[in-house]
Structure formats: structure tokens, C-alpha cells
């Protein structure tokens, strides 16, 4: 039997070698980032295209979220328009348990960056990331149990509703019967930084006690971010190739048949929601501590849509495609569009500051630009940049006019 899992052949080894080389290059990016800028010429506006380490951290955050959403949308086929709610859970776990928000109490546990007399709850961010994962997954189950009985468009609409409720709640929960839970639209800050603390065992002294006191704080956050990405990709692939992963594909293809083959529909779909949420929670917690703050504005609907765009652009169901999609869109969003605008302006000799209304400002038109990118994608490559094998064949079959979908025939059967 030719097993894809059990043996490594030559092609696999080459792929692995390329992968490792690429990972090493990425890991040391902060070391040669400045060299890249210098190579282009620090005065040259083209140097603005070189990603900053700060933006690389942000890219890591969005990659984790996109891969998490891909489990829900790409693997299990459940359209979730409120994914950013889970990011919010993670961010507010950091916001509650690593700030002075609850100054009624003074509790410190493994935190860095504040003395033990500072009021509020301060728990180690490492622990909080685990806590955020668990809480977000739990939240996924709570939202999933009532909503996952719906399908298709109805599910999308309800998740959209949850995606709207969460920021509104956070914005208004600054006085719940006089209790300030979320500090409203002012958000929560400062959130404690990451760090390894002063009591590192084994006498390892090279690890920083507190990232923020380091001159290369971004680099340290970047390393943690990369580790999170690696972990997320690893988990995502392992789950995809597991019994649960197969059950998700089966459900996406045909719920009725999957149920009849012994796949418990609710439990399996809820698992997809919980696992997707878990990674959203981790990403939220990490991003909040990196920025040192979190606001309700961080998780409005448009963020959910942008993450969904990453999944669609990259290729639903394919981890690498989704990663690429997240990198492209996050880079454009945070740096690329601005750099493009500045380069065009300086190319035409337009002063981007004084001549208001005459210069190009792509970042302020990002909605149009991302919309256009998506429309062009849907026209010429609807399966995404790097599609999964399954999606690809589905799109090919549809293009040939073969009907794969049986939704019409099944809509009347009751699902439990």
C-alpha cells in the first residue's frame, strides 16, 4: 500500500530541507532586516517596502488567526463571520489578568514588569495564553451549541450577530451595576509585557526577564510569534490528517451521509468551532500584550471579514495557502499600501503632506483595494492562491458543470 504518512521519500526530504532553510531565514529576520534596508538605501523610499520587525509580529498574529479560522471555514465548511469574537476573548483575558483594571485586589503570579505592590491582578502572560486558549475554546462551544444547528447562510448570519454583540458589549460594560468590567471604549492598558522572569531555572541567563526592557523587544516578541505560528501550523496539519479531520471533510461534503456513517454532527462541528476559537484566543492574548493595550475597536466586524479574506485569498482548507494569504493581506494592510503610496507620490514628486487631496493615499482606500483583489481572485482563481487538493477538484468539477452539491435535496431532513 502506498501510504502518504508512513514513509519519507526523496521529494519529501527536499521539501523538508527547503522548509527548514526557510524557517531559519525567518527566525533570523530581525538580524538582517536593517541590512536589507541599507542594501536598498535607507534614504530611498523603496526601503519602506522592507517589512519592519514590528509588522512581522503583527503578521504572525494574523497568520495564527487565519489558520484558526481555516479550521472552521476551510476544514469543516462552517462559514463564521464573527471569528474575531474569540480574538476579543483572548485579548480581554490579558486585559483583565495582567493590568491594574481590578485594582480592588492585588494579586501577582509569575508576572514581570511590575513590583508586587502594584494593585490589580497580574498573572504571567505565558499562563494567560494557555488560559486564553481554554477560555476561547469554551466560548466557542457556548456560541457553537445553539448556532451550529443552523447551516449555510443562516449560520453565517448568526455568527455575524455574535461578532457584532461582542464589541458592543465590551464597549458598554464599563458600568455593569456600577462595576467597571471592560473600561468601555478606553480599553485596558497597560498590559504587562512578556518575559521569562528572574527565576529561570538551570541558570540560563541569556533569556530576558522582561522583553520591554530589552533594546530589541520586537525581536523577542517576533520569536514568540514565530513559535506560535509554528505550533499552530503543526496542530492544524496533525488535526487535518486525523480521524477528526476526516470527519470535518465528510461533514463539509455531505452532512446527511456523514451522520449516517456514524459521525456525530453537533459534537464534530462544535469541535471545529472550539479548536478554531482556541487559536483566535491565543492570538488575541499575544497581540494584546505586545501592543500593551486592547480596545473594543480592535475587533469590529471588518477584522473578521479581513481574516476571512485571508483564508479565501490563500486557499480555503490549505494551511500553507492560508498562511500566504494572511502574510500578503496583513503586510499590505500594515505596511505595503503605505509604501506603495509613498513611492508613487515621491516618483511623481508630490509632497505627501502639504498637497492635501492631490497625493495618493492607498491605506485610506484599503477597503476598495482589498475588495478589488478579492473580485479579481474570484474571477480568475476562485480556489485561492494555493488551493487544497479537495477544493481544487471541486472547482474544476463545477467549471465542467458537474453537480457536486446536494444541498437542495437534503434541506428538508431534520438535523440533530
Amino acid at each position: 500500500m502506498t501510504s502518504r504518512l508512513d514513509h519519507l521519500d526523496r521529494a519529501k526530504l527536499i521539501k523538508l530541507a527547503i522548509g527548514i532553510g526557510f524557517a531559519v531565514l525567518l527566525f533570523f529576520y530581525p538580524s538582517y532586516q536593517q541590512d536589507l534596508v541599507n542594501a536598498v538605501g535607507a534614504d530611498n523610499t523603496a526601503a519602506q517596502f522592507v517589512p519592519t520587525v514590528f509588522n512581522m509580529v503583527v503578521i504572525c498574529v494574523y497568520v495564527v488567526m487565519a489558520i484558526g479560522l481555516n479550521m472552521v471555514v476551510g476544514y469543516a465548511g462552517l462559514l463564521d463571520l464573527g471569528y474575531v469574537a474569540f480574538y476579543a476573548v483572548g485579548a480581554y483575558v490579558a486585559g483583565w489578568f495582567a493590568t491594574q483594571q481590578f485594582s480592588q485586589v492585588t494579586f501577582h503570579f509569575g508576572d514581570v514588569g511590575s513590583t508586587s505592590t502594584v494593585p490589580g491582578i497580574h498573572v504571567s502572560i505565558w499562563l494567560l495564553m494557555v488560559g486564553a486558549a481554554v477560555l476561547a475554546a469554551l466560548f466557542g462551544i457556548i456560541i457553537g451549541l445553539p448556532t451550529l444547528r443552523l447551516r449555510g447562510d443562516y449560520l453565517a448570519i448568526v455568527t455575524l450577530g455574535f461578532g457584532e454583540i461582542i464589541p458592543q458589549f465590551v464597549r458598554n460594560a464599563d458600568s455593569l451595576h456600577g462595576f467597571n468590567l471592560t473600561n468601555g471604549s478606553f480599553g485596558l492598558s497597560p498590559i504587562d509585557p512578556l518575559g521569562f522572569g528572574t527565576n529561570i531555572p538551570l541558570g540560563i541567563t541569556t533569556l530576558p526577564a522582561n522583553f520591554l526592557t530589552m533594546s530589541n523587544a520586537d525581536t523577542w516578541y517576533y520569536r514568540v510569534g514565530l513559535a506560535l505560528v509554528a505550533l499552530t501550523i503543526f496542530c492544524s496539519i496533525r488535526i487535518r490528517d486525523s480521524r477528526l479531520g476526516r470527519a470535518w471533510v465528510a461533514i463539509r461534503e455531505d452532512e446527511i451521509a456523514a451522520g449516517a456513517m456514524g459521525v456525530p454532527l453537533m459534537r464534530t462541528k462544535t469541535a471545529a468551532y472550539a479548536l478554531g476559537a482556541l487559536f483566535g484566543g491565543v492570538a488575541g492574548c499575544f497581540y494584546a500584550t505586545y501592543k500593551g493595550a486592547t480596545f473594543p475597536g480592535d475587533f469590529y466586524l471588518n477584522i473578521s471579514i479581513i481574516i476571512l479574506c485571508m483564508v479565501v485569498l490563500g486557499g480555503m482548507g490549505n494551511v500553507w495557502g492560508v498562511t500566504l494569504g494572511a502574510i500578503i493581506i496583513t503586510y499590505l494592510n500594515f505596511q505595503g499600501l503605505g509604501a506603495i503610496g509613498n513611492n508613487i507620490n515621491s516618483g511623481f514628486g508630490i509632497d505627501p503632506h502639504s498637497s492635501l487631496g492631490q497625493h495618493l493615499d492607498p491605506p485610506s482606500n484599503q477597503g476598495i483595494i482589498f475588495g478589488l483583489i478579492l473580485v479579481i481572485m474570484m474571477l480568475f482563481r476562485p480556489e485561492g492562491l494555493i488551493p487544497s487538493r479537495r477544493r481544487k477538484i471541486e472547482f474544476e468539477a463545477k467549471a465542467e458543470g458537474v453537480e457536486v452539491d446536494l444541498d437542495d435535496a437534503v434541506s428538508e431532513i431534520d438535523i440533530r
Binding site: M1, R238, R243, L244, R246, R390
Partner: protein
């Protein structure tokens, strides 16, 4: 012979339409029972109630001593009823092997954490699942070379086989086959008839099938039940059914009985497209 499946006064209404009207029905252990009837007689509705896809409006269904009416489909499958579908419902973008492995879902345990860590237990379970899936595929006559192919690329006959293989993977005591020979040529139907007998003799299975091809029905069944407009109108051995006046009327309309009364039933398949008058 004990009954593996017993249905008592099973009824299903869709609004004002009674699709299944207080049907009593039983399937003896290791029996091969066929359910026939004109189009729209309520056969598939009845099937769907046995497998949990529909909840009966009233009545009870007992399988192997357990009440199953109203249970969700995956629970019914877990208890030991495997099924195929009238219009093939394979997981199109999965390979044959993967299709069959999905069928094993309720017989395997691998959880999320252990799958991520890929513990020795998980590796063993996956290995055993693959081996068993390959064995089942061989049994239904699908070569293993189709491992890498998507199910949607299989020939029609192979897709039908794969559906049976997937149902067998759920490790059932009772297999429900919904029009398994639809679209098969006479030779394929003959092969399939032999295959159904093998299922019972070699795998110790009980078979209940909906079938239109009378050659298949008469050739393999121990017993035939006839539904018409939601009612059970006849039940008995193939020979009894062929001679039953009400059955002939249901298929051909009143007045037509004399012309086919002596026929061996093989032609009934040819006229089953006609709606009863």
C-alpha cells in the same frame, strides 16, 4: 428466528400528507428482506425513519432490543445499522480509502490531543483502520489502486460499490440498501444479487433493501414487503408476492392484473415507471 428489527405502527406525516401510515414491519436476523412499491409509496421515508434521518410522527422502532425511533443518525449507526443512499452520497473529494475510514468513525476513538501528539495508540489505530478499510475495499471488489483517486472520479458501478463498502465499515449488524442496483446493467445486477447473498453468508449480516429490479428482488429475498401510498399492502415470500392481486394492481392499475399474472415478475421492473392509475 428472532427479529433484529421490529417496527410497530410507524407513521410519518408531512403536514397533511401521510407518507407512512401505521406500518408494522419486522426483519428477522440473518434475513434478506426487500421493500418494494411504486414510486412515491413511502419506501425511502420508511428507510429514513429506521436510520434516524426522520423522527416518526408516532410508532416505535426496536433494533436489537433498543428503541431507536428519534435517535440521531450517528447513534443508530453506532448501534449497528449501516446504510447506502438511493442517489449516491459519497464524500466526493475524499479517496475511496478515506470514504471507508469515515465509516469507521464510530468504531474508533482518536481524540484531538492524542492526534496532535500522534501517540503510539493513535498510530496503531490509524494503521489498523487503513488495513481494515483496504480489506473491505477488496471485499466489495474495489482495487486498492483507487486509494489516491477521488471518489467522484470513480465509475458509476464503483461508486455504488464504495457506498456499500462505507456502510460495511460502520461494522453493522443490519445493512439497509436503498436501490442498490439502480443504473446497473443486467450483468452487474446479477453480480450484485450474488454479492448480497455473500454479505449474509460470509459476514453474518442481515439485509434490508429497497429495490425496483424484480429479478434481484425475487432472486435473493427471503421475504418481500410491498408498500403503496404509505400503506403496507402485502408481505410474504417472493412467490406469494408475485401472485398477490393487490400488488399487481398497485403496480399496473386495476384491470391489468390478468395480463401479467402468470409472468415471473421480471418485467415488472420495466413498467415501474408508470404511476398507478
Amino acid at each position: 428466528m428472532t427479529d433484529l428489527l421490529v417496527a410497530r405502527k410507524v407513521r410519518k406525516e408531512f403536514g397533511g400528507l401521510v407518507a407512512c401510515n401505521d406500518v408494522d414491519f419486522n426483519v428477522p436476523e440473518r434475513g434478506i428482506v426487500s421493500l418494494i412499491g411504486p414510486n412515491g409509496a413511502g419506501k425511502t421515508t420508511f428507510f429514513n425513519m429506521l436510520t434516524g434521518a426522520y423522527t416518526p410522527t408516532s410508532g416505535e422502532v426496536t433494533f436489537d432490543g433498543t428503541e431507536i425511533a428519534g435517535l440521531p443518525p450517528h447513534r443508530v449507526t453506532e448501534l449497528g445499522i449501516g446504510r447506502t443512499f438511493q442517489n449516491i452520497r459519497l464524500f466526493q473529494t475524499m479517496s475511496s480509502l478515506e470514504n471507508v475510514m469515515v465509516g469507521m468513525h464510530c468504531r474508533t476513538k482518536g481524540g484531538v490531543v492524542r492526534s496532535i501528539l500522534r501517540t503510539p495508540g493513535i498510530r496503531r489505530e490509524e494503521r489498523e483502520s487503513r488495513a481494515k478499510a483496504a480489506e473491505i475495499l477488496r471485499y466489495v471488489g474495489l482495487a486498492e489502486s483507487v486509494d489516491e483517486d477521488f471518489a467522484m472520479n470513480l465509475s458509476y458501478g464503483d461508486q455504488r460499490r464504495l457506498e456499500v463498502a462505507r456502510a460495511l465499515a460502520t461494522d453493522p449488524k443490519l445493512v439497509l440498501l436503498d436501490e442498490p442496483t439502480a443504473g446497473m446493467n443486467p450483468q452487474e445486477s446479477r453480480d450484485f444479487t450474488a454479492f448480497v447473498s455473500r454479505l449474509r453468508d460470509e459476514r453474518d449480516l442481515t439485509v434490508l433493501m429497497i429495490e425496483h429490479d424484480m429479478k434481484v428482488v425475487m432472486g435473493v429475498s427471503d421475504r418481500v414487503t410491498v408498500l403503496d401510498r404509505g400503506e403496507k399492502i402485502a408481505e410474504g415470500s417472493p412467490a406469494e408476492i408475485q401472485a398477490d392481486q393487490r400488488v399487481i394492481e398497485a403496480y399496473l392499475g386495476t384491470g391489468a392484473a390478468g395480463s401479467v399474472g402468470s409472468d415471473n415478475g421480471g418485467d415488472a421492473a420495466a413498467v415501474e415507471e408508470e404511476e398507478p392509475a
